[in-house]
């Protein structure tokens, strides 16, 4: 129960941060990237502020003598350090979509609570995209598996 309540509150802090920062406002997001048009540099302060806290914060958390999280058994941190085509192509694709809609997943999810039709449309399409990509990944993996056998 404690775990659920604390995680709920963390989601709330994240959501308030997103809503305050402007990340859930497509006009502001698109203007951040529109350097040759109606440029609004505000969002550099969002990523800057977040990393300013998260970089030393992560370091302190992981450096704790207990070596594990307060309510969990281990830190689930990706260990993969290899750059590959999938990562770069996927990120480039994400950038294209973000540039078209002005919402990224973290910007849209808290805004779902406003029931704004554009946010709901984006989120439905986002979920459809996630399922499509997962299905394609499973298919490719299966093909690769049968080709190897």
């Amino acid at each position: 129960m404690m775990r659920i309540v604390s995680t709920y509150l963390i989601g709330l802090i994240f959501g308030i941060g997103i809503m305050m920062s402007g990340m859930a406002n497509p006009a502001k997001v698109l203007n951040f990237f529109d350097v040759f048009g109606t440029w609004d540099p505000s969002l550099i302060f969002v990523m800057g502020g977040a990393i300013l806290v998260a970089a030393p914060g992560y370091w302190l958390v992981v450096a704790r003598p207990a070596g594990k999280p307060l309510m969990g058994t281990a830190f689930h941190v990706p260990q993969n350090r290899k750059l590959d085509t999938r990562l770069i192509a996927g990120s480039a694709t994400f950038g294209v979509g973000w540039g078209i809609a002005g919402f990224c997943p973290g910007g849209a999810l808290p805004a779902v609570g406003t029931l704004n039709p554009a946010v709901l449309t984006f989120t439905a399409a986002l979920i459809a995209g996630i399922f499509t990509a997962k299905a394609t990944q499973t298919l490719t993996a299966r093909r690769a598996g049968s080709a190897a056998a």
Binding site: T7, Y8, I10, G11, I13, F14, G15, I16, G17, I18, M19, S21, G22, M23, N25, P26, K28, F33, D34, D40, P41, F45, V46, G49, I51, A54, A55, G57, Y58, P69, L70, G72, F75, H76, P78, L87, A89, G90, S91, T93, F94, G95, V96, G97, W98, G99, A101, F103, C104, P105, G106, L109, A111, A118, T121, A124, A125, I127, A128, G129
Partner: protein, 143 residues
């Protein structure tokens, strides 16, 4: 559509985002990436793995209502693009973040804060491609 330059509000929002990220690592040992949290919520590995994701998402979506209650005004959401572009953009984002294994929160904040080479490469890549797309849409196609 012009928007107001809000350095302090955006910085404060960023500090809250960073704090929530550190708190989730401290309590559950998890990365706070919207893509990963949502994907695991939609296709859960187990009941206990699903419950924390559901709680986190519940917290996120209740944030606007709480803010409206406290400040007395709705958060600003200005949408300068068509519904078709929302559908298209959303679908492409879904494909991209799944293959790229993360988005602005997972790679751009959590991964950058861990100095992960993959996340740095991913963040640089999507920032460049978003800028190119916005340029093409606004100044070449002229939507």
């Amino acid at each position: 559509m012009t928007t107001e330059f809000t350095p302090f509000l955006s910085l404060f929002g960023g500090l809250l985002i960073g704090s929530s990220t550190v708190l989730l690592m401290l309590t559950l040992g998890r990365i706070l990436g919207a893509t990963g949290v949502l994907a695991g919520f939609l296709q859960p590995a187990s009941a206990s793995d699903w419950s924390w994701r559901a709680a986190l998402l519940a917290g996120m979506v209740t944030a606007p209502a709480l803010m409206t209650l406290v400040t007395g005004q709705q958060p600003t959401i200005q949408v300068p693009v068509s519904t078709l572009m929302m559908v298209l953009g959303g679908f492409i984002v879904g494909i991209g973040v799944t293959y790229g294994a993360g988005c602005t929160s997972g790679h751009g904040v959590c991964g950058m804060a861990r100095f992960s080479p993959r996340s740095i490469a991913a963040t640089v890549t999507f920032m460049i491609f978003t800028a190119i797309t916005v340029y093409v849409v606004r100044h070449v196609i002229g939507v």
